[in-house]
Symmetry: C2
């Protein structure tokens, strides 16, 4: 028995899986195997037989390309990841895909690969832990009390998002966040000195972190001591800089970029076996190694102890207990629907939909303590706070309003982590245009099926004077085409309330609310029509006789269509107005419902939306028309900008007549 | 005469313009007026009557919402920005839009507003200066020798991109980059302490910058001394932290977030006049102030002197001179076309289009010293280097290959700055999926009409095992819908070469090359067909008889269509295959050309592309069909993933027959 073999088990599972798949990244697993062994063996509080235990320590592999490190750990410690799963690494329908995916593999906390985001998710998890603890822990019941550990490589720390979230983590004093930086000095292009010479100690010091520097990442004792030190820190997050050798153990490739992202090759694999004295065949792990690694018993003991605490908590704090259960099970309070219905029937004022959204939040916010979120430094513009909401801060982690700072990407990736932790429905907000800064985090919400909510205000050229740098043109489409994303662009208070409701009701993926800066009047709808809003599209205003033209639209432009339809009636034209607050939802309805709104063989259809119009082609076909944008906006007052680009009643009327003339 | 009035002129031009527009950001111009006065009066080398003088100092207002600061400076120093232009601030068709736009206003170096990117552009300008100097300066002729100054607020430094580009600027030792940080401790949401507590001095120190801390931004002498110190630095970029009061001079709003982004209101404007003893009406600037500010004479003297140097340079180094002229005038060498033609006729190998692109670069790279760029740490994957290309570094700024590190957003925004400087055609590369990390910088290229080139490889599920985090699905569409962006997705070496040619020929906007990881065979084309590639779409394979079905496709899927067409012939079906490497280009062709490729009233059209298919609806209409993606990808070998989602010859055949059956 060789004590080094416990870490070597990771090295060879990884090396052999990559070898078999002829694809993958052996470098990081081989380099970080010793650290992983010490962390998982000596520190990580988890239960392999219940990966969803709420009080487990979270482990995030931010350098997700090292997925075999994580799969090896899950396999060795007793999760439902078998040796056959390992052998199927990177194959179709396996639970061991190229990068870790949290909705596929038990024990994977978050989907990583896009660099820097795992770290951001971990910051979110640490925020969630602190917030949930502040809300539910009592003097004698420390129910929520765990650490969040992150493995991070150079790549993650080069990405801008690492700056955003680590700076914020320092401000928020997330002391139970422990990042282990794999300082191997090798990036894909070679030695990191060619592009990455910053002093990590100073950098994290500047963020107000506890920095533990210069640890030998292959010396178990040093690793253990450093993590112990990190756990004792009471007010700052910790980063431990561990020096490692990428591809540790490979006689010819260790310490080179050649071992980062390609199989070692059978000859070098053999040499590595000899070098590390690993006398086992591929995928063969001797029993004593499994025994050493297994966390099944210890995990069960841990959770059993915790369950006892929970039982006592239930007895003493029955209300808190049932609220916690509701939150962890992601159930909305039953009072929500009533509140929204009341709100709809009581409102008839003109207001911007961003303001409508705030009215909704003022009503539902107090009912939903699971709502946590805020804005990327646009609080008074995005209007996602309500009177009772107070800031989440180092001093007071019981607040639920997060001042993310001007950090859109960090914000959205943090929110993914908050949701993944459990207990919350996070929301983020910024101007629609700056959804682009957060683009890949928004995509990751969809890929992970996380029901986070984005509130994107200032949704078109209608925002006016700030001009083309701030006016969303292609962003609506860009969000709509993300698989699994629901984009709601409501036209007034009623649609905004129903949109918020739909976002909250959806639990298998993200939603985006797209809201105006400018004021909009309230439209009349029957109760039946209100019920149809959730279908994403419905007949808002119909005609008595046969339909001549259908105008389809969303958000602020719906009002133009209604106005045009009323005026066209005087010209003897029968116009149906269809409001489509959520195109994706509408397209997912039954064919018969869709046909009842827009008949299949109907030609005279005009789509009106102040954005790129490509998404509407499927509804209007080759014979319809569009009043949409095909250029960037302009700096001018909102109504002037709208007029400049043809978003006026008179232009809708003109284009309608033109289309009828054309189609005959 | 009050010496403070020189700075106050900026304050009141800004305040009054915002007041008149009833919209805008007075806080930053009022806070930074003193710094601006000292910098522009004592340091900035520029010529208002020739904003394009290549050796001018560059001034970047990264906090672009303070646009009135810049417009005031341009107006006062003598650029073609009149007092009427100032009065038209934020109005339709004015040259003083809400945020500075470089294609609209003389003297505006770059379009800013999206925070952090101005700073990144400036890093690009500093790289361009260093590179151009290394290439063209001679022992006795210091032709290119200027500074790049940046004004930056808290917002820019919170954004992740600031980390990416400042870390890189430190590594590259860009000593002629001088950033002035407006340290006013106020962000939109209030005191910066709520979200931004990092120690800027330590942070920039960690990047290897020269940090000049704790300067009073209202004390002209301190400001002057600090900038002088910065200019003397020989190996590091400098950041000067200047303490200022936002909205300086407003008795009730100075130092508060209330003055950031809204007019002061007429009462407070009046009080500010009294407080600063400014006895002039709105937009009234006394002559002595204009006289003090004017840089027309000094600017003319500067450029005249430089022109003398240039004249002598021309005499002594005629070849260098004419090459510099070619580069500054953005003319491609005449040898380029011949080289590309030769390349096309000589090739018949199967290879991945990323490899084809490298073959093109190997051929054209040596002809184009204006090509500068690289990859975000994916050199061996993106293949955008060629044998002669050597790295740009602190030690050797004559290299043209930039190791950007894992910094996609920084890379693309830096490249915008490199182009804006003049003398270069920058290119950037990463995996297509990670274009999302750089999204808004890519949009800014289009908004500014900059012909930068993006090389995005690993373009679909075809990349295989890396899985859904790395497989582009919606990104092709997301790029295509950016106004002014040309997205080229070639199918083989010939199309790749022609695509590169089209990207280089285009000088009014950006292009993106979207390339495969996997190998593709070379297709046969006649000379006429090759000539049509630049039209974005053309008939690649036609039928002898009447067309039954048209298959339209791009990139790797074109090969499936050709294969299917050949097999369908055996079933008696006549199939035309249309290759559309650039949809936007194709859609911009004359109606008659488009009709010759895809007849207007033809129904049986199938689009085949391994991505979200929404862009094809306009061509296929309601009666056509699509073989495209509507979900995320999977981790599996590339060919298995392709098969899994129906990208096979047999499925194209099946769907073709189905469509014919349906349409009759």
């Amino acid at each position: 028995m060789n004590k080094k073999d416990f870490a070597n088990a990771i090295r060879f599972l990884s090396l052999d899986a990559v070898e078999k798949a002829k694809s993958g990244h052996p470098g990081a697993p081989m380099g970080m195997a010793d650290i992983a062994y010490v962390l998982w063996k000596k520190f990580l509080q988890h239960n392999p037989k219940n990966p969803n235990w709420i009080n487990r320590d979270r482990f995030v592999l931010s350098n997700g390309h090292g997925s075999m490190l994580l799969y090896s750990l899950l396999h060795l410690t007793g999760y439902d990841v078998s040796i056959d799963d390992i052998k199927n690494f990177r194959q179709l329908n396996s639970i061991t895909p190229g990068h870790p995916e949290c909705d596929i593999t038990p024990g994977v906390e978050t989907t990583t690969g896009p660099l820097g985001q795992g770290l951001a998710n971990a910051v979110g998890m640490a925020i969630a832990e602190k917030s949930l603890a502040a809300e539910f822990n009592t003097k004698n019941h420390n129910l929520i009390d765990h650490y969040t550990y992150v493995f991070s490589g150079d790549g993650c720390l080069m990405e801008g998002i690492s700056h955003e979230v680590c700076s914020l983590a320092g401000t928020l004093g997330l002391n139970k966040l422990i990042v282990i930086y794999d300082m191997n000095n090798i990036s894909i292009d070679g030695d990191t000195s060619i592009a990455f010479t910053e002093n990590i100690k100073k950098r994290f010091d500047s963020y107000g972190w506890n920095v533990i520097d210069n640890i030998n990442g292959h010396d178990h004792k040093s690793i253990e001591q450093s993590i112990s030190r990190a756990k004792r820190e009471r007010s700052k997050p910790t980063i431990i800089c561990m020096k490692t050798k990428i591809g540790f153990g490979s006689p010819n490739k260790e310490g080179t970029s050649g071992v980062h992202g390609a199989p070692l090759g059978s000859a070098e694999a053999e040499l590595t076996r000899e070098n590390l004295k690993w006398n086992y065949k591929p995928f063969e792990i001797p029993k004593y190694i499994y025994k050493e690694w297994s966390a099944i018993k210890s995990g069960s003991t841990l959770e059993t102890k915790w369950n006892k605490r929970l039982k006592s908590y239930k007895k003493i704090h029955p209300k808190l207990y049932s609220e916690l259960q509701r939150r962890l099970n992601n159930k909305l309070p039953s009072s929500l629907t009533k509140k929204i219905d009341a709100l709809i029937s009581s409102n008839d004022k003109s207001m911007a939909t961003r303001k409508s959204s705030q009215v909704v939040l003022e009503n539902i916010g107090p009912l939903l303590p699971e709502l946590i979120g805020g804005s990327a430094d646009l609080k008074e513009s995005n209007l996602v706070f309500w009177p009772e909401s107070k800031p989440f801060s180092k001093k007071d982690p019981s607040g639920k309003y997060i001042h993310y700072g001007v950090r859109e990407f960090g914000m959205c990736a943090i929110n993914n982590g908050v949701y993944l932790h459990g207990g919350f429905r996070p929301y983020a907000s910024t101007f629609l245009i700056f959804s682009e800064y957060a683009k890949n985090a928004i995509r990751m919400s969809a890929l992970m099926h996380l029901p986070v909510i984005n509130v994107f205000t200032h949704d078109s050229i209608g925002l006016g004077e700030d001009g083309p740098t701030h006016q969303a043109i292609e962003q609506l489409t860009s969000l709509r085409i993300i698989p699994g994303m629901s984009v709601w662009r409501p036209a007034d208070v009623t649609e905004t309330a129903m949109s918020w409701k739909s976002c909250l009701d959806k639990i298998d993926g993200p939603s985006s609310l797209v809201l105006t800066r400018q004021s909009l009047p309230e439209l009349y709808r029957s109760k039946i029509q209100i019920g149809y809003i959730k279908k994403g599209g419905y007949v808002l205003q119909d005609c008595n006789k046969e339909v001549d033209v259908i105008l389809i639209s969303s958000g602020s432009e719906v009002h133009l269509c209604v106005d045009a339809a009323n005026k066209l009636k005087h010209d003897g034209l029968e116009v149906r107005v269809v409001s489509i607050p959520c195109l994706e939802e509408f397209l997912s309805q039954s064919k018969s419902y869709r046909n009842s709104v827009i008949p299949d063989n109907f030609d005279n259809i005009i789509a009106v939306e102040a954005g790129i119009g490509v998404c509407w082609d499927i509804l209007i076909g080759k014979k319809g028309a569009k009043i949409t944008m095909d250029s960037f906006g302009v700096s001018a007052p909102g109504d002037v900008a709208m007029k400049h680009f043809g978003f006026t009643t008179s232009n809708v009327i003109k284009q309608t007549k033109k289309l009828i003339k054309k189609n005959g």
